[in-house]
């Protein structure tokens, strides 16, 4: 599966990376807010007024990925989101309580469903193709990628728009912070979309070789999968884009995976740039694709030339583990 267009919005300013490059500065504070572009140039202002931040981020990155790949109407739109459209959900529920379950306005309700981002993209494109949204906590993006791969297997020569989006609102931040989620690493948010096909082109950024997921694996299961990946990559994984946080609950598992993947492996922790959120692997995948396309990994003064393969690994505290292996085209 080849990435022919990729776009991301995250706390790290990457949306305009093609024009201005990326300055890798870790986020400060306990809550990282996405650096959003000026949407008026990307989305019809008449439509923006109804879109909450997560919808704007999702739609803007989807349109940007399509533009890069020079695709006007994809054959499928697949989206992953764990939290969905939280802002509108909050507005709708607040009004529900305040108005005694009467006189509810439609916009917040319509925009609060989890599939709103994918639906808005389809509406804007007037695209009647397959459209699906996966809501599976920290594997929402991975499930979307797997579905994209299945679609391409069943429909050779087609193109799929696949991505993920999640937002952090004042209310959700307050709740999750109380649960201790952001004790060691800041909360985050973001969106990323990719235009993928089953064949390479001159526009290709990178190839997605493997997407594996595990739930609550034991040491043996984790070892077997890491070993499989290492063998499938012929020992050529140069960088591990690790979801490990400070004082991570799964530190042992991250250490185990990196030790199996070999001594020459460089480990880069990505959550200090985007914060903690369930679909952060979509941002990490964008970073991996960006570096593979550039033929160079460059971050905070460290550099690696001609990376061959990059593995995105996340071991979420909820027990969901995911591995996304990408290689240079």
């Amino acid at each position: 599966m080849y990435i022919n267009g990729a776009s991301a919005i995250s706390p790290l300013p990457v949306f305009d990376a093609m024009a201005s490059g990326i300055s890798f500065i870790p986020g400060e504070g306990n809550r990282l807010t996405a650096t959003e572009p000026a949407y008026n140039n990307l989305i019809d202002p008449k439509l923006i007024r109804r879109m909450s931040r997560v919808i704007r981020m999702g739609v803007a990155t989807a349109m940007d990925a399509l533009r890069q790949a020079d695709v006007s109407n994809p054959d499928a739109i697949i989206t992953g989101t764990a939290y969905g459209c939280l802002e509108d959900t909050g507005i709708f529920l607040k009004r529900l309580v305040e108005n005694g379950e009467e006189m509810l306005t439609p916009t917040a309700f319509i925009q609060s469903t989890h599939n709103t981002v994918g639906a808005q993209v389809a509406l804007l494109l007037k695209c009647h193709a397959y459209n699906n949204t996966y809501v599976q906590r920290a594997q929402s993006f991975e499930r979307s990628l797997q579905d994209a791969r299945l679609w391409l297997t069943e429909h050779p020569g087609s193109s799929v728009l696949v991505g993920a989006a999640d937002e952090l609102t004042d209310y959700s931040y307050g709740l999750l912070e109380r649960f201790g989620l952001y004790r060691h690493q800041a909360g985050g948010e973001g969106a990323a979309y990719y235009l993928v096909t089953d064949t390479a082109s001159e526009k290709s950024w990178a190839r997605v070789d493997r997407v594996y997921t595990l739930f609550d694996p034991g040491p043996q299961e984790l070892q077997e999968l890491a070993t499989t990946l290492e063998q499938e990559a012929s020992g050529q994984i140069d960088v591990l884009l690790s979801g490990e946080e400070e004082m991570d609950y799964n530190a042992d598992q991250y250490a185990k995976v990196s030790s199996i993947l070999g001594g020459g492996l460089s480990v880069i922790r990505y959550k200090k740039y985007c914060g903690v959120y369930p679909t952060a692997t979509a941002f990490a995948t964008w970073l991996a694709a960006w570096w593979l396309k550039a033929g160079k990994v460059e971050v905070e003064g460290w550099q690696l030339l001609s990376p061959r393969r990059i593995l995105v690994y996340q071991a979420d505290p909820s027990g969901y583990h995911s591995f996304i292996l990408l290689s240079a085209c």
Binding site: P45, K46, I48, R49, R50, N99, M103, L104, T105, P106, T107, I110
Partner: protein, 89 residues
């Protein structure tokens, strides 16, 4: 509140309720709200019905009257003035 004040209040409320990216001065009270005017659509119509109920305590008896009532800010103001229940006291 006189009619002029009501028209200005309505403009402000429509902007807030529908999150329009315009200023009250940009809305001409006699211009159509839907299609060629402000470009509102059916979802906005539902928002305006709720606005009418919440703010002015006026419930639309017949849905068929909607297009006439919500034709412009002027027609909305006329309808409110004709149907608003006087405040007690």
């Amino acid at each position: 509140m006189n009619r002029e004040q009501l028209v200005e209040e309505l403009k402000q409320q429509i902007i807030e309720q529908l999150n329009l990216q315009v200023q009250p001065a940009d809305i001409v009270a006699s211009d159509p709200l839907f299609n060629e005017g402000l470009g509102l659509d059916s979802i906005d119509a539902l928002e305006l019905i709720v606005l009418m109920q919440q703010k002015y305590r006026i419930k639309l008896a017949n849905a068929e009257d909607g297009p006439k009532i919500f034709q412009s800010v002027d027609t909305m103001a006329d309808f409110i003035l004709a149907n608003q229940t006087p405040q007690a006291g």
